[in-house]
């Protein structure tokens, strides 16, 4: 029931938003809807912990053996929680941003939320594909209509990339469907499809491209910096904090367990690609003058590490990835909020044009520093937990041949991450004020409150991650069990 409500509330309230005329009402209504979704998610985590609470199943497309089947496992619940938490924060932090046709904007935002929730909860391949596309369409409209100067071309590039990826995935889904016993789209049937190593070797890539574009993993990332820069900040927040998680979730839930042999065989190649991406993105981030592009490239670096950790197929790497999905969402949200405040106050996000903000806005600087520390994974912040576990897992991986090389390269990426994040902090917040930042003022109460929520989440997860790790225990074990390749290889040999 909880699972269904998490999709229905944003869906219905989103559709209703299109009909509201007054701007104030639109904003209040959509904030209210987001908060209600958040409360439902909290109730789901805290109160209705019975196994039935997060499952829902209804008949749908009986001819095709596809059902409307939702289930929240540890990972899905965490991502729903992140989505539900992110939306009120996004709405509040961009409360004063003016939009033309504001009702369309908020309606589409809520529809995106419904799509995201569906992706995180769907346990049926066809349903998963439906939501996968449905999350894309509204965000495409948002970015193309309310973005920056080059928005139309940039967003379209993003759309075409993801569309090609998802269509290839559709072919893969159909092929596996035709191989499942009794022709079913159900995820458990997919896990038992029993594909041969040869089939897996090419089907794997059909799925991987779809997920790699979404995350994005080097070399499928070229749409991302432009899209983040050109989209309206609220949409960028959704894209970077939530939508990239669709890709990581896809890897964990659909790729590893369905194609264990191919994942075993290609894992190292992909991990090496991913860590190459970390270095590549970090080096580019160091040269950026635009804060938005810098954050975008830093996101590619963080996601690259997650991707490498997934293919380590190790329990602590898996749990690290899951907790890092949550942390990355929170941290990058915080980053964008700071960038947005700076853009609103000074009208620019050029690092070279800013400086000395700390003297005028001490509170903003305080929050920024903590978020920056989380971004470079200092101990006591949330990202430290995730990255530590991922490194431990990569190093102890039983399937990877190049664990040390991957870890060393990724570690270099972390150092570079510290370089560019701190460089941005130094140039923007410290040093002498200039003509532009001279007249700066500090943030007001509601901005402080939002940033306090972010910082609170960073510290809580950083200091006491155990409850989170407990949630991931079961799901990561079941993923590992399904993707355990050794018995399968034995079987193939006989």
């Amino acid at each position: 029931m909880i699972a269904l409500l998490l999709i229905l509330v944003p869906l219905v309230s989103g559709l209703a938003t299109f009909l509201i005329k007054k701007e104030e009402q639109v904003r209040t209504w959509s904030l209210l809807a987001a908060i209600i979704t958040f409360i439902i998610a909290i109730l789901g985590v805290a109160v209705y912990t019975a196994p039935g609470g997060w499952t829902f199943r209804a008949e749908w497309m009986g001819l095709l053996n596809s059902s409307f089947s939702l289930k929240g496992d540890g990972m899905g619940i965490m991502l729903c929680m992140l989505t539900a938490l992110a939306y009120p924060v996004i709405f509040l932090s961009t409360w004063t941003t003016a939009y033309r046709k504001v009702h369309n904007f908020f309606g589409l935002m809520l529809l995106t939320q419904a799509g995201l929730m569906g992706v995180f909860l769907a346990m049926d391949a066809l349903l998963f594909y439906f939501f996968w596309e449905l999350a894309l369409i509204p965000i495409y409209f948002i970015c193309s209509q309310w973005g920056g100067e080059r928005r139309i071309a940039v967003t379209f590039k993003f759309f075409i990339y993801t569309f090609i990826g998802s269509l290839l995935m559709l072919v893969g889904i159909l092929y596996i469907y035709s191989r499942t016993p009794g022709h079913s789209f159900d995820i458990s049937a997919f896990y038992q499809a029993g594909l041969s190593a040869k089939e897996q070797s090419w089907l794997f890539w059909l799925f991987f491209v779809a997920f790699a574009v979404k995350m994005p993993v080097f070399p499928f990332h070229t749409w991302q910096p432009d899209a983040y820069q050109q989209s309206p900040t609220a949409a960028t927040m959704v894209l970077s904090a939530l939508m990239v998680k669709m890709g990581v979730l896809g890897l964990l839930r659909w790729l590893l367990p369905v194609f264990p042999i191919a994942a075993y065989m290609n894992g190292d190649t992909i991990s090496l690609l991913a860590v190459t991406g970390i270095i590549y993105a970090s080096l580019i981030a160091m040269r950026q003058d635009d804060m938005k592009r810098l954050v975008a490239y830093s996101s590619i670096a963080h996601i690259g590490l997650m991707c490498a950790a997934v293919f380590a197929e190790d329990k602590s790497a898996m749990e690290g990835t899951m907790i890092q999905m949550f942390s990355h969402g929170i941290n990058i949200l915080g980053m964008w909020i700071v960038v947005e405040i700076i853009e609103r106050k000074f009208g620019t996000v050029k690092i070279s044009a800013l400086g000395g903000i700390a003297q005028k806005a001490p509170a903003l600087t305080f929050f920024f520093v903590i978020i920056a520390f989380a971004n470079i994974a200092l101990p006591l912040t949330n990202a430290f937990i995730g990255e530590f576990l991922m490194f431990k897992g990569i190093l102890g991986s039983k399937v990877s041949q190049n664990g040390v090389l991957i870890m060393a390269t990724a570690g270099l990426g972390i150092i570079l991450g510290a370089v560019y994040t701190l460089r941005m902090g130094r140039k923007v917040f410290f040093g002498e004020t200039n003509a532009l930042t001279e007249k700066g003022t500090d943030i007001v109460f509601h901005e402080k409150a939002i940033l306090a929520i972010i910082v609170g989440a960073i510290l809580i997860v950083g200091i006491y991650p155990q409850p989170f790790l407990n949630t991931f225990d079961q799901i990561s074990q079941s993923i590992l069990k399904n993707s355990d390749v050794l018995p399968m290889l034995m079987k193939q040999k006989h």
Partner: protein, 457 residues
């Protein structure tokens, strides 16, 4: 049988309607009522009520599948009349005759979907083609329309000739016109039979504009009056496709080793030519002409797969593609500028119409929740189930991604660009019809079960 005779009769009635009525409104109402009667008559036949008792076993047999498709064709025509019949007035003076020709075309379609005799196939194709030549040239003062009609007629006559030649060769090899009596397994190696079959294949490909026999399509679709392009590209095209499938499924099945690869190559070529050329078009109408070629490429998947899913898929495809295309042509006939720029800012001037066009485009591009997605989905599923031809499936989805490029250009123009309005003269009723089409598209996309439960009642 009900529908064949009734639609022929209705054609004659419509011819006389131009003498009976002085004004145009009664003609239109008569035509729409006639279509409704036709629809009811056809549905009654699916329920086992026959108006006419004739023994047609030697040349026509109405399977459930054919009857169900006929229902779709008539319902599609009804939708077409509701959207476009007003715009037909602007084409020329012979308002009632246009309806008459369309009813004759419907008769041809019913024959083509149910033939068991190659001569009936030939007659059906001719009954479809000749009125189409006239409709293409019906804007008599328009040079482009005249050119299109002449082109269509010359090329069409040529392909009909080839078809007749093919039928003759097959008769020579088998000694019969009836597809049930041809003993093809015994004649596998016969050159006469193979030659005849290939000629039939090529001439059918011409009629449904499959590359490389598609060259007439862009010019004819562009030159013909909008309303008739809409009919020609939808109902007629899918009707002939159903006949195409029927011909190769029930007659040439034993030879499938010989033609399967041909079909796959033709499908691939059509997808490539249609999609890549559509990308470079500046006029939405021409883009739709090429898009109709590319959609034909997807419909060819049914002929590659030739299984149960392919049959269902072709039905879904005809519903999805016809609804969306009729809808978009209904909008185009009210535009003064057919180029992509003509659509600039339509969302500001006509929010509801723009929303409808968006749904049509999303359906044509095959985005989930729309009928178009499910249609493509079924086609891919059919080929994958049939085994082999994975390269065709992958090419298909890549081309579907290309098609998103040109369909989304329309959406971009409407929503993200500004421009003066080139759109005028839509009545409230027509708006309701457009919304109704959208509802049908989404409904089919969500609950295809309902449609198929009619097929297998």
């Amino acid at each position: 049988m009900n529908a064949v005779l009734l639609s022929g009769l209705l054609g004659v009635v419509m011819m006389f309607a131009s003498f009976l009525f002085r004004t145009k409104a009664p003609v239109r109402i008569l035509a729409i009522l006639g279509t409704v009667v036709l629809l009811v008559a056809n549905i009654m036949e699916t329920k086992g009520v026959h108006f006419f008792h004739m023994d047609t076993a030697a040349f026509l047999s109405f399977s459930n599948y054919a009857l169900f498709f006929n229902t779709i064709a008539i319902a599609g025509t009804l939708v077409f009349f509701l959207v476009s019949s007003k715009d037909m007035q602007r084409v020329g003076n012979h308002y009632a005759e246009y309806f008459a020709l369309i009813f004759f075309i419907l008769t041809g379609i019913f024959l083509v979907t149910a033939f068991t005799n190659l001569l009936i196939l030939f007659i059906g194709i001719e009954i479809i083609s000749i009125p189409l030549y006239i409709l293409t040239g019906s804007a008599k003062k328009d040079l482009k329309s005249n050119e299109a009609a002449l082109k269509y007629f010359l090329m069409g006559a040529f392909s009909t000739g080839i078809m007749l030649m093919g039928i003759a060769l097959i008769y020579g090899a088998t000694g019969t016109f009836e597809i049930g009596k041809m003993n093809m397994t015994a004649l596998m190696k016969s050159n006469l039979l193979t030659g005849g079959m290939l000629m039939l294949l090529f001439s059918m490909c011409f009629k449904v504009s499959v590359a490389p026999f598609h060259f007439w399509t862009p010019d004819v679709y562009d030159g013909a009056p909008n309303v008739f392009t809409s009919f020609m590209a939808t109902i007629v095209k899918v009707g002939i496709f159903v006949g195409f499938l029927h011909l190769f499924y029930s007659a040439f099945e034993p030879l499938s080793l010989q033609w399967k690869l041909w079909m796959a190559i033709l499908a691939a070529l059509t997808l490539l030519v249609g999609n890549i050329t559509a990308v470079f078009q500046q006029s939405v109408k021409r883009m739709l002409a090429y898009s109709s070629i590319s959609q034909a490429g997807f419909m060819m998947f049914a002929l590659v797969a030739m299984n149960e899913t392919a049959h269902e898929g072709l039905l879904l495809y005809s519903i999805a593609y016809s609804l969306a295309t009729i809808g978009i042509f209904g909008v185009i006939s009210k535009m003064s500028d057919y180029s992509f720029d003509g659509f600039n800012g339509l969302a500001n001037h006509q929010p509801l119409v723009a929303l409808c066009v968006t749904i049509f485009m999303l359906s044509l591009a095959g985005i989930p929740l729309s009928a178009g997605f499910l249609a493509k989905f079924y086609m891919l599923k059919a080929v994958i189930q049939g085994g082999g031809y994975m390269w065709l499936v992958i090419l298909g989805v890549l081309m579907a991604a290309v098609s998103a490029y040109y369909y989304f250009r329309v959406i971009q123009a409407m929503y993200f660009k500004e421009g003066p309005s080139h759109f005028s003269g839509i009545s409230t009723f027509e708006k309701y019809v457009l919304v109704g089409i959208c509802v049908l598209i989404v409904f089919t996309g969500l609950f295809p079960n309902v449609i198929f439960s009619w097929l297998y009642f």
